[in-house]
């Protein structure tokens, strides 16, 4: 789910072209747009507080015997629907392995590479400050 939520619907659809088509779903709910209240912690590790809300879209489908859920950040209904369909299919033991290999693994690798590139940019801005002798006597 974490991988699907971070992908684009186009990228998921492209990966799906290499596996047998997903079962036509029965949409049980959504895709519908709503909010999640994001919480932080006082001081970073203390009691919770409400930081502010964010847009999310959620969708629930039934495909065969499986029910799939998705909640994604933003307002992309196509992504929520597709993620819910893949979530349902992933619960089918007959499809799980193929989807894991054809969809989840390549998307996860792509996301990991993007994250690694950002970390490398951050690492390039790491500094060593030298403390100068104080001017006060």
């Amino acid at each position: 789910m974490a991988v699907l939520a971070r992908a684009s619907s186009n990228d998921i659809a492209a990966c799906l072209e290499t596996v047998s088509p997903l079962v036509e779903p029965v949409v049980l709910r959504g895709p519908e747009q709503g909010l999640v209240m994001v919480r932080g912690r006082i001081g970073g590790g203390g009691g919770a507080f409400n930081l502010g809300e964010m847009s999310v879209t959620r969708c629930t489908v039934r495909a065969g015997a499986q029910v799939g859920h998705a909640t994604v950040i933003g307002r992309d209904a196509a992504l929520a629907l597709l993620a819910a369909r893949v979530d349902a299919a992933l619960q089918d033991p007959g499809q799980h392995e193929a989807l894991q290999t054809a969809v989840i693994a390549p998307l996860a690798a792509h996301q990991a590479a993007a994250k690694a590139a950002e970390a490398a940019h951050a690492a390039a801005t790491r500094v060593e400050f030298f403390t100068l002798q104080t001017m006060r006597t």
Partner: protein, 356 residues
């Protein structure tokens, strides 16, 4: 005297709005501004509108900025109005900023902290000279890369807490108050105050924070740590019964460290102010942390003498949407109110024997 409604003037209002739309578009010979351009190239404006609009959605914030012609308070107002149309599905698990994927992390108190000082995409150390290269659309070189040494970036306050030199975070489990659901009451608890500050006006918080530095409730701050980067958002949907990761958001966090001479119950130690905001907003996070600490004066047994220490004053006036609503409503017709005031003044003058 309350505001008395007027009616009529529909045609003039429609015409005014049509002219507004044309003014917003500007010279039709100039390319129309894309929402994607605002989102990608005016990121700090987008971040500020998300923080003060209290809604994380870069696309909508970019749209609001376009619609408001770059008036960021008006744009935040649009986001606030929009969020009222949507149901709230869930609240997130409290974000774990210690696990943040760091873009920037600096400390002004420890030079050699584990994980190092990471400048990130900063305006610090620039010369604030106008860059005329941007006028001609120069393409910047790709950012440099360096090997990542990995490992989590420990929070600066974790180094000091083992010796008891710095106050701890306090108890972790509680259900926070929500000022979007319950009316404010005073004394407001710290969770509600932080929610108000997180959506508060950056300019107001900056001025309040600055005032504490200049001596109005001085709290001798150090920027213990500022970090900016992405954190994952987890929610626990009712239908699943376990937490799922729904994606990343960019946050900025500030740990302000302040001198504290101790009280009857607490030995001398460093106290802390906390700032957390949507997007890349260091000025906001730092100001928020200063004001958070200032508002803890009463809790820490300090004299409450300065505006920034007055919880009611800060919390009631930090919201620029409420502020703009009350100030700008003055330009709406007040003819009936003013007529009655005029009558009153005439009568008082007559009673006082003032000649015409």
């Amino acid at each position: 005297m309350a505001y008395v409604a007027v009616k009529g003037g529909e045609r003039a209002i429609d015409n005014a709005h049509a002219w507004l739309a044309a003014t917003r578009r500007g010279d039709p010979a100039v390319t129309d501004l894309g929402i994607d351009q605002i989102r990608e190239q005016l990121g700090r404006a987008v971040d500020r509108v998300m923080a003060e609009g209290s809604l994380y959605d870069p696309e909508l914030a970019a749209l609001a900025i376009k619609q408001a012609q770059g008036d960021l308070i008006e744009a935040a107002f649009l986001l606030r109005a929009y969020r009222t149309t949507l149901p709230r599905f869930a609240h997130s698990e409290p974000v774990d900023t210690a696990a943040m994927a760091i873009h920037r992390r600096i400390s002004a108190v420890f030079k050699d902290l584990p994980g190092g000082q990471v400048l990130g995409p900063t305006y610090d150390y620039t010369h604030r000279l106008l860059d005329f290269g941007l006028e001609s659309g120069d393409v910047p070189p790709p950012p440099a890369e360096a090997p990542v040494d990995g490992g989590p970036m420990q929070r600066v306050n974790d180094f000091l807490k083992h010796e008891g030199l710095i106050e701890a975070d306090g108890p972790a489990h509680e259900t926070p108050g929500d000022l979007t659901r319950e009316p404010l009451s005073f004394p407001a608890s710290r969770d509600v105050r932080l929610q108000a500050l997180a959506r508060g006006d950056e300019g107001f918080l900056l001025a309040m924070g600055y005032s504490t530095q200049r001596g109005y409730g001085g709290s001798h701050p150090f920027a213990g740590e500022i970090r900016m980067g992405t954190v994952k958002i987890e929610i626990e949907p009712a239908e699943l019964g376990f937490a799922i990761d729904i994606g990343d958001v960019v946050l900025t966090e500030c740990q302000m460290v302040n001198q504290f001479k101790g009280s009857r119950t607490t030995p001398p130690q460093f106290t802390r102010g906390y700032g957390l905001t949507f997007g890349h907003g260091e000025r906001k996070a730092m100001a928020m942390a200063l004001v958070d600490r200032a508002m803890r004066a009463e809790e820490l047994g300090e004299d409450v003498t300065a505006p920034a220490q007055n919880v009611e004053f800060v919390v009631y006036h930090s919201d620029n949407i409420e502020g703009t609503g009350f100030v700008e409503h003055l330009q709406l017709p007040h003819y009936v109110d003013f007529q009655s005031e005029l009558e009153t003044i005439r009568r008082m003058r007559a009673e006082a024997g003032v000649s015409q």
